[in-house]
């Protein structure tokens, strides 16, 4: 549907703001370089204040970078005003024009582009069908639910066939259930339209379910970029590991390794791990364990005390103490399994390949 998929390239982009309280300049975005392939769905993910929305607004043209340049489909766009850029944005608040009905909202961009009336009519009808709002052309925006408003905002952005579609936390105003169905919908429409999309969110499950690539940002800097699997299984540091999904961190030392597999010492106990090839023997390291990859057993290498045991339906939730470190465990399908009670002594176990080792300096 889009005329031409366009890629985006950010070269050493920085944005400096003045802190309103301390009156000091600080980097809201610092030295961000990214290459986004045409047609891919890339998510900027991070806690609030990490610079993800600022980055998006720089791409849209609402903010100007203080360092670096932005390229859209090979063309440098730094000096273009937002209305001259081949981008379309879906806003967090939807930003529908309240004095227009749905048809006029969607047709707005086409009218600006002086598209003939008949063609506008056809395009608007088609796009409303794509987002599932056929027959609602004459409704006013305040007669729509949040999800419907979101679809109008999406239709309005899609109909002008932009090179890149920008999403600024579009689902954060919807309730939890709708959020889940809308994100699948957004992904479907993006694929059908075959359009490049950049998506900003602070919700990690949204990011994982929707993206080809995730860029994790913290304090204006990119922490990691990769596919959802990459980031979940091989986080580069504790921040990423903790931000994407839940993670337990056990401090210890790599005793020995042969290739990727090796042995770590935790609280004096030895345990087999994989993925520690980058850590030299004898150096401090942190073992990253996802709660769902750990089990409790009656015998094993790492002893622990159960401090919380809670039935959640789909899983049993445990908190155990390994030395001074609290470890969360999610044990799915608890039915028929042995349930440990608070005060029980047990051992934690995991498959070596589900563990991930970080160099201690991190």
């Amino acid at each position: 549907m889009a005329k031409e998929k366009k890629g985006i390239r950010l070269e050493h982009v920085s944005k400096i703001y003045k802190d309103p309280k301390t009156k000091k300049d600080f980097y809201a975005v610092k030295d961000v370089s990214v290459e986004i392939e045409p047609g891919s769905f890339v998510t900027l993910l991070g806690p609030s204040g990490c610079g993800k929305t600022t980055t998006l607004r720089m791409i849209a043209g609402f903010e100007s970078p203080d360092e670096g340049s932005i390229f859209l489909g090979g063309e440098r766009i730094d000096e273009l005003t937002p209305n001259k850029r081949d981008t379309a944005m879906v806003f967090q608040s939807y930003a529908l024009l309240p004095h227009y009905n749905i048809f006029d909202n969607v047709a707005y961009g086409l009218k600006i582009r002086k598209v003939p009336k008949e063609e506008i009519r056809k395009k608007v009808i088609d796009i409303l069908e794509l987002v599932g709002l056929s027959g609602m052309e004459t409704r006013m925006t305040n007669q729509l639910s949040g999800g419907q408003q979101q679809r109008v905002a999406l239709a309005r952005a899609l109909v002008i066939e932009p090179g890149v579609l920008l999403f600024d936390e579009p689902l954060s105003n919807l309730d939890a259930k709708l959020r889940v169905s809308m994100r699948t919908e957004i992904r479907r429409i993006q694929q059908e339209a075959g359009i490049t999309a950049i998506y900003v969110t602070h919700d990690q499950s949204e990011a994982m379910s929707i993206s080809d690539q995730i860029i994790i940002m913290k304090s204006g800097v990119i922490s990691q970029m990769g596919t959802p699997q990459d980031i979940y299984y091989h986080p580069v540091n504790e921040f990423v590991a903790d931000f994407i999904g839940d993670a337990n961190f056990l401090k210890g030392k790599v005793v020995s390794h042969a290739g990727e597999t090796g042995t770590m010492e935790i609280n004096g106990n030895h345990v087999e791990v994989s993925g520690c090839g980058h850590v030299s023997e004898g150096s401090e390291a942190t073992l990253v364990l996802r709660p769902e990859s750990i089990h409790l057993e009656d015998a094993g290498n790492i002893p622990c005390d159960v401090v919380l045991s809670c039935f959640m339906g789909a899983y049993q939730n445990y908190h155990v103490m390994v030395g001074d470190t609290k470890v969360a465990i999610t044990d799915y399908n608890p039915r028929g399994k042995k349930i440990y009670q608070v005060g029980d002594k047990a051992f934690i176990s995991f498959k070596p390949e589900t563990a991930h080792v970080l160099q201690a300096s991190e």
Partner: protein, 568 residues
């Protein structure tokens, strides 16, 4: 850290947006020419004589007995009016927000009383004061039999100004009181404080910056007021009237400039305290919205005296306004109370129609200019960022603190011989153009303020989305901004019309025989003691203004934005 790149990019983006760029340049030039320059020239005039810097003019003016009296008169009237208006405004606001009103009619009375000063020409209350309490006043002579009553002077000024300005305080304080979360006071009551104690220890401290605000706003209005001191001041001269007399009587334009500088410094000082100190404090103490409906006071020992007091004041105010059409209908006030239309016939035989035509024509031209300009300024200030934004906001709001008399003198000094005496733009002096410009400058601050507050309600991303869809700045303003604030635009239009057609302070200095303004007519008739004719003029004026306001309400009711929202 270097922030130059974003500044350079923003500049380049601005250059690629010619509509925006040209608008900004025109605005800045207009504000420089018609707000800053006339004020600046006053300062230059009063310290620059025959090519030399001198403090001589100031010195002689400051030593002038007339000036000293006028200065302290202005301050005294301002302080008393400010205090009384704030107190009366507080009483009305408190009753409106806290007290359960037994009779619906009281609410209507409140509405009428708060509307009246908006729709009435500035000197109406002075006229009716004279009709009621003057030498041949209805109350003083007819009822009390006093033959040498004297309303002229400080008392007359204070009463008329208080009744004119207290509704503004009422509206300001009502807004603040409504924002106080009732649970704060309930918490205090719950801990055992009496209602009186709660008022003093919770309500008042929260309201204190707001009270200061109301006082200063009234003080500025009082100091800037020209019409009431002129009509009812007698020999109690204030700065505004003294400046006028200095120009029209003593032909001392330099002295008038120096006095204008003093008056301007006084009002701007108050304005700066109010705007930059008190307003931020008000915002800091009263940010939250009331979480739920307040439990109204029903205790009779509280409600009875308060509602009585408010009711009496309201009735008195309405009576005052009713005096004007009465004055126009009686044959000879004080002697012969036979009903007659002679006064109306008189004014329409002797130039009245022309005066109304001129006043209305110039106001009709000035109103849309003001409304459009103030919406554009509001849009730029709230929604865009660019160099010079602070300047535009500051100057257009600052104009609020400039007394009309000062602006009038500034225009005379600034343009009677052209800019800086070079003859440049001399052409506008003595024409209708300068009157229209004066109207626009006088109404711009109110329009801009209402536009700014209307726009702040609108999510910034709505305009951004239109911009993002490819619309240029002009298109965004016309298709998105303006339709969303059309209520504010239309009320700005009518307010500008009303303010212009009832304006006198600047106009009386700038008017030429070619243009015949209603307000100037009323003033000169009242000065001559022809109250019947003056009242007849004022009555017609009130009718015109009232019609305009009704038209505005109708428009907002049937075409306003709130209507679109209600179409559920």
């Amino acid at each position: 850290m270097k922030r130059r790149q974003s500044a350079a990019l923003d500049r380049k983006k601005l250059l690629k947006d010619p509509v925006l760029l040209i608008t900004i340049i025109i605005l800045i030039v207009a504000l420089l020419l018609f707000v800053l320059y006339p004020l600046l020239i006053l300062l230059v005039d009063s310290i620059w004589q025959e090519g030399h810097f001198t403090l001589g003019i100031f010195e002689s003016v400051l030593h002038l007995g007339r000036f000293q009296t006028a200065f302290w008169n202005t301050v005294r009237a301002g302080v008393i009016t400010g205090l009384l208006s704030t107190l009366l405004g507080l009483l009305f606001a408190y009753v409106d927000v806290y007290v359960r009103l037994r009779f619906r009619i009281l609410e209507r009375l409140f509405n009428v009383v708060s509307m009246l000063p908006v729709v009435s020409p500035p000197f109406v209350l002075s006229l009716s004061m004279i009709c009621l309490f003057g030498r041949s006043g209805l109350v003083t002579r007819q009822i009390l039999g006093i033959y040498d009553a004297n309303v002229y002077g400080l008392v007359g000024i204070v009463v008329t100004q208080t009744l004119t300005f207290f509704p503004v305080c009422y509206l300001m304080l009502r807004g603040l009181l409504k924002n106080i979360d009732p649970s704060l006071e309930e918490a205090a009551r719950d801990m055992g404080a009496s209602r009186w104690k709660v008022f003093w220890t919770v309500t008042t401290p929260l309201l204190l910056p707001g009270l200061g605000n109301a006082f200063l706003v009234t003080f500025i209005e009082s100091a800037a007021d020209f019409a009431n001191p002129m009509l009812i001041g007698g020999d109690y001269d204030t700065l505004a009237t003294t400046i006028y007399l200095q120009i029209t009587g003593a032909y001392d334009k330099q002295g008038a400039s120096a006095m204008a500088v003093v008056l301007l410094s006084l009002t701007i000082l108050m304005f700066i305290i109010q705007k930059y100190y008190l307003e931020s404090k008000t915002a800091a103490t009263l940010t939250g919205k009331a979480s739920r409906e307040r439990m109204r006071i029903t205790d009779k020992s509280v409600t009875f005296p308060m509602t009585m007091l408010c009711g009496l004041v309201s009735i008195f105010v309405i009576l005052m306004y009713a005096m004007v059409p009465m004055g126009a209908l009686f044959k000879l006030w004080g002697r012969n109370y036979a009903l007659t239309l002679d006064h109306f016939k008189y004014i329409f035989t002797y130039g009245g129609l022309a005066a109304f035509k001129d006043s209305a024509l110039l106001s009709v031209i000035a109103a849309p200019i003001t409304a459009i300009l103030s919406m554009i300024i509001a849009y730029l200030v709230v929604k865009r960022k660019f160099k010079g934004r602070g300047f535009i906001e500051f100057v257009s709001i600052l104009a609020m603190a400039v007394p009309g008399t000062v602006l009038g003198v500034g225009f005379i000094r600034g343009y009677s011989n052209g800019m800086f005496r070079t003859g440049f733009l001399q052409g506008i002096y003595g024409t209708s153009a300068i009157l229209i410009i004066a109207f626009v400058v006088r109404s711009l601050p109110t329009g801009t303020r209402s536009g700014i507050s209307a726009l702040r309600q609108i999510d910034k991303s709505i305009e951004e989305s239109a911009y993002d869809m490819g619309a240029g700045s002009g298109k965004v303003f016309m298709t998105v901004t303006l339709p969303l604030i059309k209520d504010s635009f239309f009320s700005g239009l009518v307010t500008a019309f009303v303010r212009s057609i009832t304006a006198i302070s600047a106009v009386i200095l700038l008017v030429t025989p070619r243009w015949n303004m209603v307000t100037v007519q009323i003033n000169s008739l009242a000065e001559k003691g022809n109250y019947g004719e003056a009242c007849a003029y004022a009555t017609v004026l009130i009718i015109i203004v009232y019609a305009a306001v009704m038209l505005m309400n109708l428009f907002i009711k049937y075409f306003g934005t709130s209507r679109v929202r209600r179409q559920k």
